[in-house]
Each structure stands twice: as structure tokens, then as C-alpha cells.
Symmetry: C2
Subunit: 435 residues, 2 copies
Amino acid sequence: MAEDVLPPHRIVVVGGGFGGLEAVQRLAGAGAAITLVDQRNHHIFQPLLYQVATASLATSEIAWPIRAVLRDRADVTTVLATVAGVDAAAHRVLLDEGGSLPYDTLILATGARHAYFGHDEWEPFAPGLKTIEDATRIRRRILLAFERAEIEPDPRLRAALLAFVVIGAGPTGVELAGTIAELARDTLPADFRNIHTQEARVILIEAGKRVLPGFAEDLAAYAQRSLEDLGVEVELGRAVSECSAEGVVYGDRILEARTIIWAAGVRASPAAEWLGVPADRAGRLLVQPDLTVPGHPEIFAIGDTVSVAGPDGKPVPGIAPAAKQQGRHVAATIRRRLGGHASPVPFRYRHAGSLAQIGKRRAVTDFGWIKLRGTLAWWLWGIAHIYFLIGVRTRLSVAISWLWIHARNQRSARLITQGTQSKSQTSNPLAEHKP
Amino acid sequence: MAEDVLPPHRIVVVGGGFGGLEAVQRLAGAGAAITLVDQRNHHIFQPLLYQVATASLATSEIAWPIRAVLRDRADVTTVLATVAGVDAAAHRVLLDEGGSLPYDTLILATGARHAYFGHDEWEPFAPGLKTIEDATRIRRRILLAFERAEIEPDPRLRAALLAFVVIGAGPTGVELAGTIAELARDTLPADFRNIHTQEARVILIEAGKRVLPGFAEDLAAYAQRSLEDLGVEVELGRAVSECSAEGVVYGDRILEARTIIWAAGVRASPAAEWLGVPADRAGRLLVQPDLTVPGHPEIFAIGDTVSVAGPDGKPVPGIAPAAKQQGRHVAATIRRRLGGHASPVPFRYRHAGSLAQIGKRRAVTDFGWIKLRGTLAWWLWGIAHIYFLIGVRTRLSVAISWLWIHARNQRSARLITQGTQSKSQTSNPLAEHKP
């Protein structure tokens, strides 16, 4: 038949996060030739990345090789490469390695990175949390701070080493602060001889008036009380004006702290720059209601790299379910087009709910029509997260890791690794926290 | 009583590997004040390190925070620090961080590092396998070689990317070669579209006349046949004369290969240099029969950093059971001394057996009085290794990982991580293998 000799429609997907992977999975059987490009070989389950940063889970428990996830999809080629740009006129994705990938349809799902509101010089002192490398770096800093405090004779320096600052009280900031407090309170005390790890301070700083701005007021208030029960100092309404090797300045206060974690702001990938199309202040590409790029009906952009309005007129939040819904919408649009139906259908975001864990037996879940908090919410949180992991093996492994944290207070992934460069025997593991 | 007001006997143990940790554990209840110093925060189960390098196990499955292992030992203080030397006259261990640790008795269990027989310039091209960082670096190289081959148009470069050289056919080399062959044959084929990973070559190069020199002849022959069944090319009696970015030269042959792993030689830690006492050519301190350092009855040295003769006159091998036996012997000697019995007892090495795995259903075990090979030997190998892991949780986790490899050919730890430095979005993940 004539149809069979037509070359297949070529779809290039840039980014193997929640949005890009979902689009690829929903295009199964569409008859297209799909290429998924990512600069990393693994898909990350970002909602649990803070658990790697706090030594609760191992890296391999929340990351999967993308090509293994798609091994049964003969229509998909996975490419590990860094995208340098897009030649929209020639319909080609340009690779940093040289060469390019031709497309008929392009999906940009390139995500976002943490950003410092114009203070990039803060990054070395206040690392953010977006990648596996970010998580192991933060884990190393937290664990090394306790190690260094154990052998520090100067009480003032010891206090600075035992002060942990988290900037930003969205879900990631709240979850990080709660878990660090538990690490210090429950997991570590018996391991040290010279310090009382329970005396570590965890300070959560938020410029806004409340924690968890995406949640209902009463749940946010509950979350704040729960954090305070764990010993976290919640500092609201104070913006950070300085991060340095010594600590932070926020509002009118100066705090000496050797470990600062940034959970406050993000900036979109350069997708809008690649195409020379309008973006908002955070670099998010302003897509059409059907998620196409203005002037380029063959290019879709989804997930954290775009700004699109939800049904309430507010921007769709940068969370995993939103990215997945957009991936699904784009896949459906492409399928309709391949079937000869070209009329655009606007994307409609449905907010499924917001979840955040605070410590190991409390959580808040806000589904709009029902709000839960406490132990029941925590179970729901745990079950939902295990459900969304990929594969039986990972689910089993994460369930066992959580069981051990709950039953024994043991966190198995407390490894201080020193990067991948070769280290001589005289290298100094504590150099990072040296005053 | 007068005894109670005496300060406790101070023991400093340098090194938290098999020897040092065993000594500390056997000194429980001895009434001493023990300090364990290590430059890393974790004890590694080195016999399975090759499984991390080949993506079979996650790092946290074979590494434990030392201070967590010793949390119930109030008599032990764990210090994360790098030792710069020993002031034997002043009875102090000098730390790189500054400061020093006073001791009455010192145990040096500082291990060994891979060495290149005077060719240190080979290290960047042929990394060795001693630490968690080494293992993740080798894992990254192996996985990136396949990624790069997938997008490499030049057949010659593709062949070089799909050639994996292991230098040295002791247990580590044999196990690495077998597992890489299985990775290429069983785990990866369905994941790639442009290359046939089964066509990857694994070349095991050994200067000696046979593989596994520590095993009986017939077991070594069996191991070699098993490797060849897996597709490994075993090259015996050919010394490597060159390692470079292009490949290796061995005997009269030149082989283009982008991935080379060094499993051939080790060099002891600088313990002998710290004390200015005699060492053998590999830097191993020549201890007395009771494992004390000549001229320093209060200093013991054990494990891979020493050379001591076994009952057959041959040197005790550098393996975990030997280090543990020495740790036990030293602990017993110190206990006798604390009890007022000072006469030295010579260390007697008992060789419990040699085990090596070749692929996922074969192994060789040589206990002297009984030699096993094949599936039964493999079960024995697996059970023995799980038995010697620390803690129920790790045993469960490793058992599950192995189950998945056997049942599904899935290796869960196939992560390419890029070290701990911050990576910009334009970083090039393939740079390491660029021709």
C-alpha cells in the first residue's frame, strides 16, 4: 500500500523528565519515529530528590536509565547528548557534540534549574536541588558539617557548623527542613561522642507570609506547627539579602551557618532563547493554549520550561503532575494531527492535589475537595509516591528503606563521596567546611 | 579502687577497612579508649566493589558509615580525618587538618591503592578500583562508552568504544571482565537501536601464564573456559607496555580501546614511610611475626599495608579474611597486654579459601580440601558474600538486586553521574569519551 512507503513522521523530544517521558509513552503505537534526547542517562523522580539529599534514599532508588525505561519501544531511539539550540527554519535540533537531529514535530520539555534572583554568586554557598549530583553534593555538605563539628574545639565555629539553613518554604524546603531535623534528632545522636546532634539548629527562611503557599491556610499552619515540633525554626516574611561562606543575612538578622540550601527560585531552560520567542521573567516560554510555540505549530513546549494559564487564570504550577498532563495533551494532539485532524485543542490543567511530608509520620495533602493532615495524610503521601515510582524493584527497595527509617531510625545512604576525580591519600575530606 | 582512677589505655586505629574495623570490634569491653580515624566516612565491602563498577549494585549496598557501625560502642570515637604522619617518639598521630591524636597503642590498617609499576601516567586512561569513587568513575566510563558508540558514525571509532580492556586476571579482573561481558550480552541489547551491544569485545590481559593465580590449576582452567563462554578474550603471558587515550599495547599487539580498567597491581599506603621503617618493593611494611613494627612494640600494622609470611613461607595474601585475622590477632595481643601478659605471640594465617564469580551462574571456590565450580560454587559464593555484609537491611537489598539481575537481567544502578561539581546545562556528558 502507498501508505507503507511513506517515511514515518519524525518526532524529537528534548528532555526525559516527567513531561517528555509521558509524551513519549503516550505516543506508543502512533507509528512515528521518536527520538528522545537528554543530557543525562537517567529520568529522576524529583519529588523524592530531597530524600537523597538527606541520606534517606540511595540515588538508584529514584533514578532510572531512560533507555531502560523505553527498551520495549522499538519506535523510540534514546540519545544521550546536550542540545545546543534549535534551527527552527531547517527543522533541526542542534547538538553540542556536533551534528543535529531532523524533526517533523518537536517537543521541548527541558525543565528548569534553580535560580538566585540575580545573585548567582550565592550558588557556591547555597546549592539548589535539581539533579542527582545536586542531591549528593547537599548530602555531603550536611554529613560533613556534623563530622567537622565533632572535631571542632571552638564553640562558635561548632555552632555555625551545626546550623542548617533552608531558604524557601515551598514543599521542597519544608520537606528538606523536616528531614534534616529528624536526621539530627533521631538518626545521628548515638553516632557522635563530642557533639549532641540534637542541638543542631534547622532554620527555614521564607520571604512570604506563610509556608506552603500552594496549600490551604489551615494545612500550612499545621505544617508549620509540625516543623516547629521537630525543632525547626520557621522564619517568615524575611527575605535573604546575602549568602556567603559565613552564613546568611535575612531581614535584619545575621546568622552564622556553614550549610545553606537553596529551595527558593527556579529559572526555565533556555528553550525560549533557542527559538527567539517571548518568555516571562523566569525565562518560561509563553506557549499558545494548545502548548505550541507561537509561530511554530510544529513545536510544542511543556513542563517547567513554559508558562501557561490554568483554569483559574493563575499559571499552572511547576510540578510533576502538571508536566505529565501536558505531555499527555501534546501526545494526543500529535495523534490527532497524524490522523488528519488539525484543529487545535486548548490544554486544560486539572489540579489533582498537593502533598508534602513533614518528618516521618506527618504530612499534609490538599485535594481541594478534601484536606488531610497527620498520620493518615502521611500514609497517603507514602503510598502515592511509591505508586508513581517506576518498576516493582524500585518500589520494594524504597518501601524497605522507609521501613528501616521508621523502625530503626537508620538511613542507609549516609555516604560522603568526594566527586569523581581521583583523590590522593592525602586529600582532605573536610576541606569543604574549613573556616 | 585505685584502678578506676587510672586513665584508660588509649588506642588509635588508623583505617576503617576490614583489618581496622575487626580490631576495633574485637576490643569491645577491653576498657580502652579507642579512636578510629579514617579519611572516608564509610567502610567498604571491597570484594563486591566490582559490582558497583558494573552497575549491578548501588554504592549504598556495599558501604556503611563507620560511625553508624560503631554507634553502640561508647568506648569508640570515630574521627573523619586524613592522617599526615606519625610522631612515634611523641606517640601521636598527626592529622592533615592540623592537630594530633595521642596514643598508647597504635594500629595502622591503612591499606593499599592500585599502582602502575612505575607508570603513573597510565592512571587517567586505566583507572583502578579501590574506592566508591573509583567504582562510580569506572561505571560511568563503561556506560558512556555504549552511549557514545550509539551515536558514533565512524565504524572504527565505534569498535574502539565497544572494546573493554581489563588488565590483570586476579579475582577482581576476572569478575570485572565476566560482568562487563554479561552487561553487554544480557542487560543492554534491548536498550540500544544503532549498535549491537553483544558485539562489544571484552579483553582480559594478564602478564602471567594463567588466570586466578591464587587458585588451583583446574579451577583456573575452568574459570578461563567460563569467561570464554561469555565471550571474554583471555590474553595470557603478555605484559602491557602502554596505556593511552587510544588503547593499549600488550606483547606485540596494539588494541584500540576507549575503556581500560586496571586490576593488576597495588602499592601499600605510606605507613612504612611515616615510621621510617623497612618496606618491600610494593611499599608494604615488614612487620615482626607478632605484627608489631620493628623497634616499636606499641605500634601494630595489619592488612594490605604490611608484608608478613604465612605458614607456607609465602606472603599472606592481600584479601579481606587475612586482614580480619590480623585485626583479631592484634586485638587479642592488646587484651593480653592490658591483662599484664606481655610475651609476643606470632600471627598464624589460616587460609579459609578463595572465591571468584564468573558471570551470574558460575563461580570457583577453592578451600584447599574441597574445590567447587559451577552453579553450586556460585550459590556458595553468593551466600558467603551476603553473610559477610553488615546488617539485615543491606543483605535484603543485595539479595533483591541479585534476584533482579538473575530473573530480569536488569541492573538497577546504571547511573551515569558526573561528579559533584555543578554542571551547567551546556555541559557535555560525552566529553570523557570524545576521540
